[in-house]
Amino acid sequence: MDSVKMAENINFASPEAAFEKYADTVYRLAFVRTKSSNDSDDILQEVFLRYLKVWQKMQSEEHVKAMLLRITVNCSNSLKTSFWFKKTEGLDEKLVAPQTCDETDVLSAVLKLPVKYRTVIHLHYYCGYSVNEIAKIEKLNPSTVKTHLSRARAILKKTIKADDL
């Protein structure tokens, strides 16, 4: 290992590098969970501001990604419990962006699922995490994740006739 180069590579976890690489990843999970692009913008910012405090402890590229996704889950949870969220009614995304809400569309089908099911489906099928990894990210019991996943699959099979699930 060329250790002179190493000094530069250490910055893989730096907030700038992580943002460059994972901003969209974070945004997508936030969108899946909140169904609102405005909330997702807020979460994107909040996630990286929180990441500033922890990035120096990152050990690997994978660690960075998993950490960011966990912060995203936490942020969207705290958003739901926030005063603003409780006391205001969100503008229906359908009115704003009707094109993303085709009835037979897989995306709209997923977004219709309860938030805990959406999250596991997204993390499993889009981010490619296993049940155990999702359990770590969401801080849940692996069997709970398994249940969420199987119930989500069952619903999706009915709604969009996805037989390959």
């Binding site: 250790s3 250490i10 897989v106 390959d164």
Partner: protein, 626 residues
């Protein structure tokens, strides 16, 4: 199917570019000022915390007092980490800084290190000369790079060994080897890509080896690479070794076959991780070493104001091995190198110059002493070593506030000094307050005498007698219009000044000027001859290596640019006057030019072409487009 569809749909969802930029700005400025309504409470906490800090600093101070040596020895990476960490900006530090008027500025400790100055024999110098004699047995007479100290090679972009011309092309990142002669011929080309060098710098010819140096990698930290090529068969240069060290290229020297590479290594203080030493310790990678340097080769300068290292490594050009290394936390601007010592001069905010002396011997580098002088230095020629003492010419700029009734005017007052330090960098003698309101334009030390030029409207050339280091005195001052940017010794009793002519009344520069000073009597220096090339200027005014000054062949050459396009002028000095030998019109080039001679041919080398001239009448005999 589901997975693929879902992925495709999901990939279309992206965060808005504007939002992304906004967030990126926020994470790049994590220490942004707190909102104003919070400031009061935060200051309150800061003040309370400061008391704690002050106490701990005092505790630290008394501990340090017990250590007698001036350069504090570091024992572990952990200590260095703590020292670097101090530079991390934080609100508390800023408040503390504000309250105490600068905490990073350590008062210079009176305790001085017992450093015994070793006067190494002139072996190194002799070896360097022997190496010169040994290579190229064809007895060709050829020009060499214009350097400061005899026996210490300085890098350049064009070098010749009498048979071949080696030329570095910066724009296309190439090393070209050209066979010299009446019909010059491109023998081989080595191309460097971005993985070799991000930016090529300069090179050396050491025996049959070419050392090419340059920066590698972007960003704040950077890496400097030296590639060593075997050119014993110029048709097929062979890459032998690769030496790398942390930081951006500052300068380098070659003594004998030892390469001393000096880099500036900036630490990104917010990114340091204690468990990863490479984030705050310089690293070296070569044939027999790969990793961060040993903790005991790292020192922390007393005058360190920036989290920036000066990294000096000695490499063997013979086998690409690391011979010695020394890193000092504290930045460097000017570097002087004699055959036995390297002097680095840094900078501070209060117009003083921290000086560090390293002894060098066969590639080994060791910090020996640290000191500080008032004022700032012009360039490497402002520093000199003679008989174990070190001499400096500095310019001191001071802001002076004058109050006239209600009008306050602020003026920068300049004055110049000449300082002599001993090997421990303690002051022996000084001449202060020279030429007030002027600044130093060029310096040359020649043994016991120092010559320097200050300038505002007319050019006083001062000569100072330093034979008694404790009592330096000015023995002569010659006032003439214009000034010299460089002074080069030109044979017995002569000093060549390359500079600019200026109007005596207004001080406006009028063009390039060559002066030959008669210094046979240092107390009565006269301008023996001068010639002015009006409205034209040269790179030789900014870079001493750009000019050809060869006393043996009695040749002075430099390229010019001005109203008439590019030209190369060659002068000789005879019968007490300058005589122009040639005035060669050149195509415009977007690279630097160098002139050199081999036997009876004069070559003008640029990145785009080489032209060959017969030196009897300077007619063009060949040109080679590259």
């Amino acid at each position: 199917m589901f997975e693929k569809d879902y992925r495709e749909k999901m990939d279309e969802i992206r965060a808005d570019g504007y939002i992304k930029q906004k967030v990126l700005r926020k994470i790049n400025a994590p220490k942004a000022k707190a909102p104003s309504r919070l400031v009061i409470t935060r200051v309150a906490t800061a003040v309370v915390t400061c008391f704690a800090l002050v106490i701990s600093v005092f505790a630290l101070k008394t501990e340090q007092g017990a250590i007698p040596a001036a350069p504090v020895k570091q024992v572990s990476y952990g200590d260095i980490y703590q020292a670097v960490k101090k530079f991390q900006p934080s609100f508390i530090d800023e408040a503390y800084d504000f309250l105490t008027g600068g905490w990073a500025k350590n008062a210079t400790d009176d305790a001085e290190a017992e450093v015994i100055y070793e006067y190494v024999t002139d072996d190194v110098m002799l070896k360097a000369e022997a190496a010169d004699d040994a290579d190229v047995g064809n007895g060709a007479e050829y020009s060499e790079t214009n350097t400061q100290v005899e026996g210490v090679a300085e890098s350049d972009i064009v070098i010749t060994d009498g048979k071949y011309i080696y030329s570095l092309a910066h724009n296309t990142q190439k090393l070209r080897i050209i066979k010299a002669g009446k019909k010059p011929e491109l023998v081989s080309t080595v191309s460097f890509d971005k993985s070799d060098f991000y930016m090529l710098d300069q090179m050396y010819l050491v025996g049959k080896r070419i050392v090419v140096m340059g920066n590698n990698g972007k960003g704040r930290m950077g890496t400097t690479t030296a590639l060593i090529y075997d050119v014993s068969s110029p048709e097929a240069p062979k890459k032998l070794y690769e030496c790398k060290q942390s930081g951006y290229y500052n300068t380098s020297r070659v003594i004998g076959d030892k390469l001393y590479l000096i880099t500036d290594f900036n630490i990104t203080v917010n990114d340091i991780v204690e468990k990863t030493p490479s984030t705050y310790i310089p690293a070296v990678c070569c044939e027999d070493f790969d990793g961060t340097v040993e903790a005991d080769t790292v020192k922390i300068s007393e005058n360190c104001e920036h989290p920036r290292y000066t990294v000096i490594c000695g490499f063997s050009v013979e086998d690409g091995s690391l011979l010695g290394t020394q890193s000092v936390l504290g930045g460097t601007q000017t570097v002087y190198c004699s055959t036995k010592n390297i002097i680095t001069a840094g900078y501070t905010f209060d117009d003083s110059t921290p000086i560090i002396r390293y002894s060098i011997n066969d590639g080994k580098v060791e910090l020996k002493a640290e000191g500080k002088i008032e004022g700032s230095l012009l360039n490497q020629f402002s520093i000199d070593e003679h008989k174990g003492n070190f001499r400096f010419v500095t310019t001191l700029s001071k802001g002076v506030e004058t109050r006239d009734g209600n009008i306050v005017s602020y003026q920068i007052k300049q004055s110049n000094s000449l300082v002599v330090l001993n090997s421990n960098l303690e002051q022996l003698g000084a001449i202060e307050n020279l030429a007030p309101d002027e600044r130093v334009y060029s310096v040359r030390f020649m043994g016991d005498i120092a010559y320097f030029v200050t300038f505002r409207q007319v050019d006083p050339l001062f000569s100072a007698d330093l034979s008694d280091p404790e009592n330096p005195k000015i023995i002569g001052a010659l006032k003439i219009p214009g000034f010299s940017n460089y002074l080069f010794p030109y044979g017995e009793g002569k000093l060549l000044g390359l500079g600019q002519d200026a109007d005596e009344q207004t001080g406006r520069t009028k063009g390039m000027k060559l002066s030959m000073f008669d210094i046979s009597d240092p107390s009565n220096v006269t301008e023996g001859a001068k010639t002015v090339i009006e409205e034209q200027y040269s790179n030789a005014l900014y870079d001493h290596k750009a000019s050809l000054v060869d006393y043996k062949r009695n040749l002075i050459g430099f390229s010019l640019w001005g109203n008439y396009g590019n030209e190369y002028h060659i002068y000789t000095f005879e019968n007490g006057g300058f005589k122009q030998l040639a005035q060669i019109k050149l195509n415009a080039v977007n690279s630097e030019l160098r002139g050199l001679y081999i036997n009876n041919e004069f070559y003008i080398v640029s990145e785009e072409y080489i032209r060959v001239y017969d030196m009897t009448d300077y007619t063009e005999i060949a040109r080679l487009e590259l």
